[in-house]
């Protein structure tokens, strides 16, 4: 099909996929259904008109949806479309019960981390055009699924709070004579990457050590601790205190350098590198024989 035809068709497109979208939630995709899906998708995917997404569905409150399954949606493709755009379209046009988190739509809030085609990614940052169809969209692994693409993040937040993720300094002057607390450009550069974390939880979900050890702080929390431990404005005592939290049994030593966190982090934070550096800090701190 030519590109000229693509436009009028894409306006009609909702009708056709609506049927498919509406059908699939009712029953698991049946033989015939699947066959129709496949042919229509194959042809149109080549033209770049609709994109076939398979979305994980689960709802404990609706009978018949308690058994997890995948629903197929055929979403009209637009240039620059992201995974989040696609699921939003599917929700708005085909099935309003499709549930997922999102907010900023610009990789800042960290709420729409999904498991897309076998990898943890931010929905709003991932271009559909970069993915192989059909695009499989699932909730983050290693976290319990509350509904559809929504996972329970409580444990992740708990771990993040364990490392006391706030600036601490006993020397902070009283409010009246509060002055600027300066940081050297070099120090800023050192913690720059670690400060980019948006608490999306993708790293934690990709880490199979964290999956096997519920007490492991996890890459995000350790990175958060790194940000403060390496900040020159905090005192030596506070740094020691931070290292004490980190060098516990379920702290930095649990990391087995699988690099999966570093690979999935949407903010390109060198997580493994930070964890290794903290390991070295912990060793240095304990190796003072003189």
């Amino acid at each position: 099909m030519s590109t000229q035809q693509a436009e009028p068709e894409s306006q009609e497109a909702p009708k056709d996929p609506e049927m498919q979208g509406a059908e699939s939630p009712a029953a698991e995709t049946q033989e015939g259904d699947g066959a129709v899906d496949q042919t229509s998708t194959d042809a149109s995917e080549l033209d770049g008109e609709t994109v076939h997404i398979k979305v994980f569905r689960y709802d404990p409150e609706v009978e018949g949806k308690q058994e997890p399954r995948f629903d197929d949606f055929h979403v009209p493709f637009e240039k620059g479309m992201t995974v989040l755009d696609a699921v939003m379209y599917a929700r708005d046009e085909y099935d309003s019960s499709l549930t997922f988190r999102h907010s900023c739509r610009q990789a800042v809030c960290g709420s729409d981390a999904f498991f897309v085609n076998g990898k943890q990614r931010l929905g709003c940052k991932t271009q559909i055009a970069d993915l192989e169809a059909p695009v499989r969209i699932e909730p983050l692994p290693h976290q319990e699924v509350v509904k559809d693409l929504v996972v329970d993040m409580d444990h992740f937040y708990d771990q993040m709070h364990t490392v006391e993720p706030y600036f601490q300094d006993e020397d902070t002057p009283a409010v009246d004579d509060l002055e600027e607390q300066r940081q050297s450009p070099e120090n800023r550069e050192k913690i720059k990457m670690s400060s980019r974390c948006i608490w999306c939880g993708a790293c934690m979900s990709s880490c199979n050590i964290a999956a096997g050890d519920n007490e492991y702080l996890g890459p995000a929390a350790i990175n958060k601790a790194y940000k403060f431990a390496m900040d020159d404005r905090e005192s030596e005592e506070i740094k020691e205190h931070r290292l004490r939290i980190l060098e516990q049994e379920h702290g930095v030593w649990r990391c087995q350098t699988q690099f999966s966190c570093t690979e999935v982090c949407p903010k390109d934070i060198p997580l493994t590198e930070h964890i290794q550096e903290l390991k070295r800090e912990a060793v240095k701190k304990n190796l003072k024989f003189w």
């Binding site: 076998g118 699924v145 350098t257 690099f259 690979e263 290794q276 070295r280």
Partner: protein
């Protein structure tokens, strides 16, 4: 919240195709480590016959009295299966050493960006060394 869904371990392992280089390196390192520990025990068992050998214990091979230690070693070495296992043992040990060096680099913060490449390099080197060792291991084997 009334209920939630836990996808469980089985599904995790079912995702092996999605594992990345660092993950495979980890799995292989653990596996080769356990194999080496297992080997150490069999190695000790074989070595222990040298005590008997030193005390002059003998065993009958083809109607001749032979030192037990020598007989044990010769008996094992003549088996094709043992030769194959030795090649496997070499492969396991070489990979474990190379990946161990790779991990040492990672620990020191060196070459973190090419951690996947160093894993592939370890694999290729292991393969090459193993293949090169085959003629040596298989000479003079009966059967």
């Amino acid at each position: 919240m009334s209920q939630s869904y836990n996808r469980g371990l089985i599904e995790d392992f079912g995702r092996w195709k999605e594992f990345s280089a660092g993950m495979w390196a980890w799995i292989f390192h653990k596996f080769t480590g356990w194999v080496l520990i297992g080997y150490l025990f069999t190695h000790i068992a074989v070595l222990s016959t040298s005590i008997g050998g030193a005390q002059g214990e003998t065993t009958m091979v083809d109607g001749e009295a032979v030192n037990v230690y020598t007989a044990t070693l010769q008996g094992l070495e003549s088996l094709f299966l043992i030769r194959l296992l030795e090649i496997g043992l070499l492969a396991v040990a070489v990979f474990h050493i190379l990946n161990g060096l790779r991990l040492l680099m990672v620990d020191l913060g060196i070459g973190l960006d090419s951690q996947d490449k160093s894993f592939y390099a370890s694999l290729v080197l292991t393969g090459a060394i193993t293949v090169a060792s085959v003629p040596t291991f298989l000479t003079g084997v009966s059967i």
